[in-house]
Subunit: 194 residues, 2 copies
Amino acid sequence: MRVLLATRNAGKVDELRQILAEAAPHVELVGLDAVDEYPETPETELTFAGNALLKARDGVKHTGLPTIADDSGIAVDALNGMPGVLSARWAGSKKDDAANNALLLDQLSDVPDELRTGQFVCAAVIVFPDGRDIVVHGEMPGRVIREPRGANGFGYDPLFVPDGFDLTSAEITAEQKNAISHRGKAFRELATKI
Amino acid sequence: MRVLLATRNAGKVDELRQILAEAAPHVELVGLDAVDEYPETPETELTFAGNALLKARDGVKHTGLPTIADDSGIAVDALNGMPGVLSARWAGSKKDDAANNALLLDQLSDVPDELRTGQFVCAAVIVFPDGRDIVVHGEMPGRVIREPRGANGFGYDPLFVPDGFDLTSAEITAEQKNAISHRGKAFRELATKI
């Protein structure tokens, strides 16, 4: 079965390809680089699953293939679960990771250590040409520290220490991160259901 | 009975003085300007009531008088109730109302009109020298528009159209606003309980 992964992130394609090779070897993954003139999907929903479904439905519409998509971000308890779906543009749509990290640290500056909990969350979905869909979630719980540490990963990784670790998710290796990450968990669960 | 209002905002003192004159004429309100060397209270709680109680307890400790305090902000539904207690420093602790308004508009740029609901919320409290306290809340529901309008009020008023109005809370008069505002409602309810 050929399945589209509706993302332009080559790292995600590699990661999911590895997971599927074990869990669902009958699936052949197609990346967006193999699709001509693929349109950008606006992420207008208020939930990760809502945005992932938008992207996957666009994939089905454009290619006719079953399509996998994901949406993820960081949900900080002291901010009632925000930045959430706005994680990538928390400091504004024209700002970068550094600005997002700086704003989050500033907003949490008065929040004591024991209340700086949160989790990275990923919704992964597959939509089939007949309209059926499967939605799963993965989480990586941990806490937000007070200064960025580490150069791996991206986004809020330098600010986040996963439960069970003393290092941030930007200080552990990619293998360590994939084993515990929200996206790794969600993709592995989705793979078992395809 | 002499009661301290723990705020440096002269407008709040006037507003509460007017409300108390009707609802609790036996109360004589004292402003912070009448108190020497009054310390700043850090607002470190995650709720409006928590911060208002911090401020009122500091007032009792410093003056021995029953002390009224309040904390308020805007709770936007699409942001899970944030900016909330961070309303005054949403864009960062060194930023101003204009930066806060610009960031909120940017974060909500993809949120459709019917989901741009929210409310201004005020927690008003009184703490007595024996440690007893009374906590009340007032709300002003409405919606966040896409561009600032009006020069009255402060904070997020130019972005907020209260339910039942076509004008923003920065376009209506101070009298109209006091009649419907979160702070007016909370102060009036508190006055009836003193």
